[in-house]
Amino acid sequence: MNNSLIPGNYLFISAFVIQFLAIVPLTILKNEKKAFVISNFILLIGLVLGLISTLSSKLFSFASFSSNDTLLFSNWIRLDGLGLYFLFIIQLVAIPTVIYNFSYLQHYIDQKRSIKSFVTFYIILLISTQFVVMANQAILFLVSWEVMSMSAYLGMLLEKEKEEVQKGSFYYFVASHLLVFILYIFFFLLHHQTNSWLLSDYHLTAATISLIPILFILSFVGFGIKAGFMPFHFWLPQAHPIAPTVLSAFLSGVIIKTGIYGILRTFQFLKPIPEWCGWLILVVSIFSAIFGVWYALAQHDIKRLLAYHSIENIGIIGIGIGIGFIGSANNLPVIEVLGFGGALLHTLNHAIFKSLLFLGSGVIYQNLGTRNIELMGGLVHRAKYLAILFLIGSIAISGIPPFNGFISEFIIYTGFFQTAKELKNYYPLLMLLFVVGLAFVGGLAVACFTKINSIMFLGTERKEVKHFHISVFDYISLGILALLCIVIGFYPQPFIGIVNKVISNGFVAANSPSALLNMNWLSITIIFSSILFGVIVLYFAKMQIHKRYGRRTSAAWSCGYENQSPRMQYTASSFADELNTIPKTILLYNKKVDSSKRVIPKPSSFESHSSDFVDNKIVLPGYSLLGKIISKIEFLSRTDIRYYIAFILVMIIIYSFIAFLWI
């Protein structure tokens, strides 16, 4: 059987047809709620079928897998390892978001807001994203890419009357258009070299090796804008916070990963890749990771904070890719496998925990009506399980054991060590610098996520919460994602196997070394389990001890300070102040302390604010500078017709002069 889908195409096709059909109820049913529920349900079925179809492919079974049997539908669709892997990620994240929609969009229906258009665009978004990773034809790829970007843009407009939504979505809109221009050139060059529009035909010959750097730069910048690498990230923290939560989850979890997909896909035909490409990616990535998380630390808007964390995680994925590139350039499959393996697994992991965190923050947003974490607090007493789920996501995203974030970072660390070991010379020094950078990122992430968790959930309520409602759909969707975090953390072997298979199918040419599989996953499982086991045992012991020696609650002691009020708690600004002051020129971090030192002091206040460097120092000034230059061009905007008649004469003279020069 020469098809990567074991049950054949029918399940696959029907899954997509059903997803498409989900639009139908929206167009024919008048009743918003009924239309939405039916359509969402159909969409869910379609996605589950799609996931089943993906999971029953050869990638996820024991069947062997060669790159020849991946092309479908007259080569327009390719379901090879990489494609199937990303398809899996998309569907895996899409399902919880769609479940979440049931409760989330109910709020909007209650507000009498029309959600039909949003749901339609969301369906189109899901379908087109799946097509992006399946497309094997460049034009199909570009079309799906654009449809994906635009449907996401249109989906963002759900709360379009808000100023910030207008601004943020516009950033997104412009960025996605900009990068498509770059991708055009990229694909044209490839088309020109190979005379084919099929991605699977893109193999560069020896004669065209000189093109590789250009193609690489184009691909890295083009896809890098989508992925949100640091200098190109300016749109991301503007756009992700303002989207409806489901969409932000999907944007941060999946859409930006299409950029990663693009870079990885590109790599498949940019061989042999020069080593500096790997270094470039490494440097950009470590920069993105450090400053992404540092910016995140300075934010008070929970969704913007998470958006900056996406930049950080994209940086970590990029680090993996960079190692892979270096391995490939030096012809060392071991390093390659570790680098790409770490990147691929982190892509999956980030998709999972980032959507978990976004959806969790969406629940809070719906109940409190604010995204400012300074106004939250003590939510653990209202929603214990939400706090636990959010905590799982936070630990995972900080890369701390025992959850999935650690696993992928572990692979990347191992990749660094391996690179240093294989390529002696000055490599250990450089690799160590990157390791330290990555460890630094981990430390910042810990600071950041302890900040949000404690400010949002712990302590006492800063603003009175009237009632806090979480529906069962929220729990299901968050639960699925949290469960995945735990499973991948405690038992990564199957996922490692899949990643290894993806790499051996299309990345590493010869029989791939089993560097990934040979890592001590069993020890990790045992250690994590024993930590869990130890904590549980100790917990019961603690209960017994409490029974024996007593336990009671009382007002917090706090050095005997009485009459604590919620406003006296440590705030997010003050928690992060010390760290943010250090790179304040880059974070554009400024504080406003207003305190009076008079005998009878007035109320004093403290504010901190950080704005994006690239956005505020490069993009916006650049644009306004251009505007200023343009406004100097006065001679074109005359009302008097005589000028235009003079232009006729002038142009004739100029053109004649050119003609004269021609001879």
Binding site: I400, F417, G443, I531, V535, I545, Y549, A556, Y570, F575
Partner: protein, 307 residues
């Protein structure tokens, strides 16, 4: 053969058992150096026992985080301890890459410690948590510039292997290792909240880091916290001592001797340092830590380019 399997568990029990003694030892020496008689060497054990038997009081504003955080802290510290070698004894947990796991398990402990501090909702604990997050961040690179740089040079990723790859046959390598051990000492001071970064003796100062985070804990919870902090101190002491294992010339017995002697010398050194220095200003601490990092970078640079 049987003994080899038992080496790991025994080592852990030794570490867990000796850790309070080590702390008591430092305190005693400090007291003597400052001309006091001081508490008995076993005082930490008495403290722990006392706390174990006390009633536990939790703040009203606290949540389940305060309940589980001490447990996680304790277990995780033990797991980290299980990765450390004592002499030539193979630790319980030893595999390729455990150096990363070591750093990150301590990260887990820190994560919960900070959360538990913030759980109370008091500004004192908040301040401590904020500082802990900040300084831990700058301490992280030092760890990688000490142990990590040795690992990168040797190409090994298990703590046990890393320490035992140290050879004393090359003069530049010896210098490299000595500087690494100095960095490791600074790391230990930072991570274990000792002078000049933190003062373990006072509680009620706004200058506190670690101690202020556990202000509102009592009874069994405080017991666990305190015990974990003793173990943590000892863990970092072992990280430092282990640099001197190469002198043992692969003898089990000599290794243990070095371990014991090293512990004693280290405790003395710590006591002396704590006696003769005073606390830094809070805002100077990151600079101090960065200084240690810089030493690490310079060290590695010199080593890489003089080879």
């Amino acid at each position: 053969m049987d003994i080899e399997i038992l080496q790991g568990p025994i080592a852990i029990f030794v570490i867990i058992g000796i850790a309070p003694l080590f702390a008591g030892f430092i305190n005693k020496q400090k007291a003597i150096l400052t001309g006091r008689i001081g508490a008995p060497v076993l005082q930490p054990y008495y403290d722990l026992l006392r706390l174990f038997r006390k009633e536990t009081i939790n703040a009203k504003s606290s949540s389940f985080i305060s309940q589980i955080s001490p447990l996680i802290n304790f277990i995780v510290i033990i797991v980290a301890a299980a990765m450390l070698p004592i002499g030539y004894w193979k630790p319980l947990i030893s595999f390729n890459g455990d150096i990363i796991l070591f750093a990150y398990t301590l990260g887990l402990a820190r994560f919960f410690q900070i959360l538990a501090a913030m759980d109370i909702g008091s500004s004192f604990e908040g301040m401590g948590a904020s500082r802990e997050a900040t300084f831990a961040l700058f301490a992280e690179p030092i760890f990688f510039f000490t142990l990590g740089s040795v690992a990168f040079i040797s190409g090994l990723t298990s703590i046990y292997d890393i320490y035992h790859s140290i050879r004393l046959d090359n003069i530049s390598y010896i210098v490299f290792i000595i500087i690494c051990s100095i960095s490791a000492f600074i790391l230990a001071i930072t991570e274990c909240s000792r002078m000049p970064v933190d003062d373990p003796n006072t509680h009620l100062e706004l200058t506190m880091i670690h101690e202020v985070m556990i202000l509102d804990n009592s009874g069994f919870d405080l017991f666990l916290y305190l015990y974990s902090s003793y173990i943590k101190l000892f863990i970092y002491a072992i990280l430092e001592i282990s640099f001197f294992y190469p002198f043992s010339a692969k003898s089990y017995l000599l290794g243990i001797v070095i371990f014991i002697v090293g512990s004693i010398i280290l405790s003395l050194t710590l006591a002396i340092v704590e006696t003769i220095t005073s606390r830094f200003k809070m805002k100077n601490i990151p600079q101090y830590l960065l200084f240690a990092t810089a030493i690490g970078i310079l060290n590695l640079l010199i080593y890489t380019f003089t080879k």
